[in-house]
Subunit: 169 residues, 2 copies
DNA sequence: TATTGTTATACTCTATAACTATA
DNA sequence: TATAGTTATAGAGTATAACAATA
């Protein structure tokens, strides 16, 4: 069961009758709050795995593994960071031996990212962890409700980052 | 229309065919990503309003307005921070004249938070902004889909922070 | 002149532990 | 001894602008 991290929470009675004011019906409030909780939980589940803290590293690892030669600017757009923020992520992951940079043949300004053997092994290892963590974090959702959330939030995500909408099967 | 903040994004063609690997079906990925986008957008909408950056301040302001004498530890639990993180928020807001601390009559260790006139005015001003921003951020959701998201994410949120589940009307 | 990647910097947030004062 | 609030600090994330090399 997912739990608050703090050792002891306040008396349940003290909090039971607190209303959230207008935030009760503000979707972004839940997204912002759950983000903190789910991120902390994921960090715990990935503890020691050379990837933790921030969506950037996991996404980068999986995307580079899936798309050899992908540019960091493309990843930046998908994880909603700017290019300068990506540099540090790639620097760090390159130092860790998870991926390598190689100049693009056609455009010498650009460079592609490539996974290493170590990086691929790590990717294979974290994939099931990431999937399971996310599902386990929402035990009070049915499979159908879980799918619904992914569909609806995914729709907004894709629009914002510029990915094409998924065509219903 | 909500847009990416970066000046220019990469060629749409370069990104259109990028698959997200397993993250495609990972709910926490969308929550973590959308959190960044929706938080940035909210900051812009609240620009200059003495409240911005982080869920903490807005939630604190609205909760103190709604529940005079509420303790910071209760707010901490609702916004998923620890007490030490709350201190800075309350410090700052007290300096800004938005709220005041007053020792609890019954338990001198504890202290209640109370809104000021200035704080109440600000609360009244930001409420519609926060509600509108959140709805506007998801233009591709129908009202029903929007309600569904709030219901489902709210359920998980309430469990995690220890609020009672809402009884279906 | 525009773009890719990089560097530098300042700022904020987060996490942890230890401290105080009351109970 | 346990709790409410506080302080201090180290680490990580974020945002911005300016830069070099290439197109």
């Amino acid at each position: 069961m997912v739990q608050l991290k703090s050792k002891r929470s306040t008396d349940p009675e003290a909090i039971a009758h607190v209303g959230l004011d207008v935030l009760e019906n503000v979707l972004s409030y839940y997204i912002r709050s759950l983000n903190m909780a789910v991120s902390r939980d994921l960090d715990e589940k990935l503890d020691g795995l050379e990837v933790a803290k921030g969506t950037g590293k996991i996404t980068t690892l999986l995307l580079v593994d899936r798309h050899p030669g992908i540019r960091s600017s493309v990843i930046a757009q998908l994880v909603m960071r700017d290019r300068s923020a990506m540099v540090r992520v790639v620097d760090q992951m390159e130092e860790q031996g998870l991926l390598t940079r190689r100049a693009d043949d056609e455009d010498n300004r650009a460079q592609g990212l490539f996974i290493t053997r170590k990086g691929r092994e790590l990717a294979d290892r974290i994939r099931p962890v990431v999937v399971k963590q996310s599902r386990d974090f929402f035990p009070d959702l049915s499979d159908e409700e879980h799918r619904t959330l992914i569909t609806l939030l995914g729709r907004t995500y894709r629009r914002i980052v510029g990915l094409p909408q998924q065509t219903p099967a």
